[in-house]
Symmetry: C2
Subunit: 339 residues, 2 copies
């Protein structure tokens, strides 16, 4: 009673060999229904708990898929993780989640830690990593999937979209509605690499159209909060009052900007238009509703999970790395005069 029972105890109590107990706890093994039933019941009575650690060591399969995301508290990444988790769950795999806090150095540390647990696959957010992190992932000997991005030099598989190109849709939408003096609100580029990509995309798209791409407001480290979005809007209204439209790096910042307008009596979209990115719930609910871009986070998780399940079952085409592009979609709403 002092120490927790092992298969040995269960085997003794059930009058069978340890191997038979082992088989009773797996789905595919050949064992008669009666024996399995009997062993399960005996185990239950003894309070036996299967030890995955020992199982993992002997079978050399951890059942883990390591996943890193910048922040847990972000509806977009959470949706991806949720979809990924349920897809992998169906394949008998468990997600081992790590949070990088938008920091490549932290990501490197985390990947090192996660790899020690012998994951069967690795899913990371974004395509920017430290050199050491890249090397670790390449030598890990398991499938690597980069998500939420379309890296120029992928480490392995990719499920995502181009954060640069996506801004073209947004600038096209705004110029089509007649806006010319358009500003961008984002965070410190040294950290949020995907946000920096979107800013780059914004600048490029503006330049392509011969428009001034210099209205850039930077506020703090990512993720850019609602409060910081409001602060950025305050700066913008104070320093560049003739701005006609604002694109925020993500919806929470866009919503913060919207609230600042409300506080100042600036009408949206009559006086200034606002748009975000991510299609967070708040964008559909806010008054006025915010134009955004839906990157289909759940679809990203679903596809990544499917890919990994296929790869590990071994029946996937082994024709090198897969690239799955999940095309984002512009959602036009009242905040840019649409909807």
């Amino acid at each position: 009673m002092n120490t927790k029972p092992t298969m040995k105890e269960v085997a003794a109590a059930a009058g069978v060999s340890v191997m038979t107990v082992s088989r009773a706890f797996r789905s595919d093994a050949s064992i008669s229904d009666a024996t399995r039933e009997h062993i399960r019941k005996t185990a239950d009575d003894l309070g036996y708990v299967f030890d995955s650690v020992a199982s993992n060591l002997r079978s050399q399969r951890s059942g883990f898929v390591a996943v890193t995301i910048p922040s847990i508290n972000n509806a977009n990444f959470a949706d991806t993780v949720a979809a990924l988790t349920s897809r992998l769950d169906a394949a008998g795999l468990q997600v081992l989640l790590g949070r990088t806090n938008y920091d490549m150095a932290e990501e490197e540390r985390l990947i090192g830690q996660l790899l020690r647990r012998q994951p069967e696959a690795l899913v990371v957010t974004g395509g920017h990593h430290t050199e050491r992190a890249r090397r670790m992932m390449q030598k890990a000997g398991v499938p690597v999937v980069e998500t939420w991005d379309l890296p120029k030099a992928p480490l392995g598989h990719v499920v995502g979209f181009s954060n640069t190109d996506v801004m073209r849709f947004m600038v096209a939408h705004l110029t089509a509605r007649g806006y010319r003096r358009i500003a961008f609100i984002g965070g410190d580029s040294a950290y949020d690499t995907r946000g920096a990509d979107r800013r780059r995309g914004f600048v490029a798209a503006m330049e392509e159209r011969g428009l001034d791409p210099s209205r850039l407001i930077t506020v703090g480290r990512p993720p850019v909060s609602m409060r910081e979005g409001a602060a950025a809007m305050a700066i913008l209204l104070d320093t560049l009052p003739d701005t006609e439209a604002v694109v925020a790096v993500a919806d929470p910042a866009a919503f913060g900007a919207l609230t600042e307008c409300a506080r100042r009596g600036v009408r949206v979209p009559d006086d200034i238009a606002i748009a975000g990115f991510g299609n967070f719930e708040i964008s559909g609910v806010a008054v006025p509703a915010l134009t955004s871009i839906d990157p289909f986070p759940a679809r990203i998780g679903e596809q990544a999970g499917q890919l990994i399940a296929d790869l590990l079952r071994g029946d996937a085409t082994k024709n090198g790395p897969t690239l799955i592009e999940v095309e984002p979609q512009l959602v036009a709403r009242a905040s840019t005069g649409a909807g």
Copy 2:
């Protein structure tokens, strides 16, 4: 090169025994700095990755703390997990996260899965569990911490607050400001047990003051979304137009309610007051800012992590289960005529 190197290979390459390599990868073991340095370098050159699985089996220490939360995408729980994670990280422990989706049956399944990984402690959200889940946790032989609640019959340790009592503060605040006809917006009680507790607390507090506690709007399964909050407000305004104040089970629902008022031209707080729970960022940013209750999620995670670190170091007082109450605080803002 085909198979990944083990300590054996590293030992051979470095010209030492396997045991010495093992020591080189731990912090406390007695080994000379020169040898450690040499082994670390050799290991690095070989691309050796420490195998936690084998280590865990032999040492009977997994380095895991299993944690269950209802939803990943909730700023409150995310803050708790973040604080818990960083506190445990300092103690060399890794969080193994599972999401219950506000479902006790799912929680039971999850706890069973997590226990197989031999966690060194278990942190669960809430004090309501299935009978089987309770039994599993009690027999797990590791510290169990229930959070975000103050259960009547705790399983072990507790770090939280009473979801029932907390509504007393809110009703007191509203009645002090002169509101009498107060409604409550919540989700299906069969799922969100903490939400149901808050609803119970609301009813009790209203009755204590001789006020009508029957203005209860129920919308869907938890978590109650912004959209559902808006829908609930629509129902309320249509069916009980003389309501003076509304308390939502959580801030997102409260914000949804606020947006519905904005769409209808109902003024807040002049025509109706709104309050929420959780002190999410949105409540401080919304216009008008929303009155809420701050449950100090980070403090909950911090305390739970500290408790576990102490317990596992063994130097904690073993005087039975610990109960740490983290007192929530009312944050009065413009949406109830304050601030």
